[in-house]
Amino acid sequence: MPAEVVKMRGICKAFGSVRANDKVDLDIFKGEILTLLGENGAGKTTLMNVLYGLYQADSGSIAINGKAVHISSPLVATDLGISMVHQHFMLVNSMSVAENVVLGVEPRKGIFFDRAKSFEEITRLSQLYGLKVNAHDVVSKLPVGMKQRVEILKALYRQSDILIFDEPTAVLTPQEVNDFFGVLKSFKEAGKSIVLITHKLKEAIEVSDRIAIMRQGRMVDTLEKPFADINTLAELMVGRRIMFSIDRKLMPEELPVLMSLRQGTLKQDGVTRLADINLDLHGGEIHGIAGVDGNGQTELAEVLTGLSRLTSGEILIEGQVIKSPTPAKMLASRLGHIPEDRSTRGVISRFSVSENLILGYQTNKIFSGKVQLKHKKIEAFATETVKRYDIKCDKISDPIRTLSGGNQQKVVIGRVMSEDPLIVIAAQPTRGVDIGAIEYIHERIMELRDSGKAILLISADLDEVIKLSDRVSVMYGGRLVSTDLVSNYDERRLGALMAGQTEESLLKEAQ
């Protein structure tokens, strides 16, 4: 057994009354890929933030290479050879790759910044590990996968031996994920230790040497190769059995078109965000949009919900053209919206649970007269909805920010579903939500489909799209490059389309 580079013992960290880490032990060995697996809120990121010096543990000890250390800040961690690549990149968009990488520890020539040397150094590092990043590129022009590599370069440049990645694959295409795993393996061969924080079971099994599973702030188990199957892992992670497949009701051949987008084009600041999109949403069908984040999915949802106005094209609901759509108009046409970004569009964090439950429906006659709100009715509705949608909160008057992400999302979903919508635009409905809640949300969406509603499911999680959808469109560069029944796709074809290849080029390849 190689020596452990990191030895964490009895780490405790509480936020208010929540114990994010409860006496957690963790070893990290030299030259291994260790996956920290757990639901959102299991305490994985907290534990790593403690190691990286962003948080101070309430109690417990950390030893690096056998020496007890006190990691009081990320600077100390960097000195100890620990780097962390966060979910949200911390890059200066207007600067070049090399400038970003050396920022803070710039090579100097006298008192001046030695630009030439930094470019040289970064190019060398990039080649050494096969990262294929051009040091001169401006960061804002790079695709997400490349930005991530810039973050990795930062860690390498600071000569880190322990690299922590927080949900690194969330933003990558399947191909990019493969490349990324390749890079990880080359680090491992170079003797570096990698920690991967994830809740994706498949990835954990594919790439790790060991898997450490956390649940509710505790370390549940540490597994060595060969790993158990996905179901066992999931059970360890959640603490109970999880259903992975969903029964779907068979639908008739001919389904009614409830909503259509015709030749939808959207230009913003001279940039074409959506190009000539034709889309029909059928009642009783989940229409999934697969694609890497940032290929127009956000704009598509905004156009369909009235938040953005099409530059050209039209939107029809049940055959009626909606003239100059606004959110209020679309809501009145029984279009429910589960916004992709819960914290900015979905909920108002300082509003109470019940106030959030009526947002969008506050003009509804049940909730409000001409001037005054009907507080009693709202309370009754909120109490019932909280019960029906299994929203865990102390009181409906609590601010929604005190709820977990999953429960906040249930508020959003309960709000939409209680209003008996005809069409639902569900954008990233399970982003940042724990596995138990994901399962629950999937069931509710399925219920909607089975009751004959039309659902547009936009998700960056390809597994989710494949699992739920009847029909899938792939979005790339603001276009729908392919639409087909889900059973006609395989993962390779989807991945290639998401990465920008066309159906024609795929056909040619096949021949």
Binding site: G16, D58, T305, L307, T326, P327, A328, M330, L331, A332, H337, P339, T344, R345, G346, V347, I348, S349, R350, F351, E355, L359, G360, Q362, T363, S368, G369, V371, Q372, L373, H375
Partner: protein, 365 residues
Amino acid sequence: MKVTAKRIGSGLLSWLKGGSLLFSVSAFILSLLIAAVIILVSGFNPLKSYMALMVGAFGSWDNIATTLGTATPLIFAGLSVSIGKRAGFFNIGVEGQLLTGTLAAAIIGAYVKGLPAFIHIPLCFAGAWLVGGLIGVFSVKLKQIMKVSELIITVMLNYVILYLVDLIVNRFFLKPPGHLVRTIDIQKSARLATLVPHTRLNTGIFIAILAVAFLWWIYHKTRFGYEVTAAGLNKKAAETGGIRINRKVALAMFISGGLAAMGGAVETMGVHGFYIANMSAGYGYDGLTISIMGAGSPVGSTIAAVLFGALRAGSSNMNRTTNIPGEFITILQALVILFVSTPHLISFIFDKLSRKKALDCEVSG
């Protein structure tokens, strides 16, 4: 032992996070303490000085009346800032909106004749509200259409209005012979009755209390209150919820500017009986601090307004009995602003304290 100390510490902290009333109180106490040090360093006795301040503000019925009378326009100013803030618009233009109210009330009060009081007084208020409200709407429309920062718009408008109001009086409504920039006296039918003779306290305070209730009703009972609060807290979520933000915020600013102008009108109709240059004395700016101290709640702002009224009223007594210049109150107010508007500073201080306590416990326990 350590855990409980920690818990108390973090509990204290969450209480002290900006925006709560308790936070405001602790900020105020902290300001008093630091001001005491300044008094001490200047060679005065802080205890005596604060006693004099208290006596000046609350020592007799007349003093209390003066305090409340001074508080009246401040209540309006605080409410005005409060509803603007709720809608997400930081209205520094209260001073100007208040001034237009003083003039509108002075003109309608003086030149509209032959009306009974129960029509004349509401007419003056309505006129003041309309002018102030429209300026509020104008400020917010500049922001919405031209995307100019509201801080620049409102601060600049204050100056424009300050001089414009004087210009209007000078050109059209100057009371002969014109030694002073003031209008003629308003009609008896437009006067608000003085409640305690020879003090500033007048029936305007009841209207202020009505305004407090009105705002409370808007915030807690109406759909408009719900929608405008949503727009102020999270524009994008409000937009997604079908709320027409620009309209709601404009209406909120109509109320904000209107309330500010009401404060000015009360000064004209209840205290002076005419418009005179420089009559606002910075009420609008005090309104900013008052609203922040009041943590956005109408009742909280009222308490803060009375506190500021007391400071203003008590300062002259402090000046007479201890020789501390009246300007000292400005220092005290500045300290309050500093602490109230920088929540992190207070949290930081208490964080240090509670952490030290926790450490002490750890050692002893």
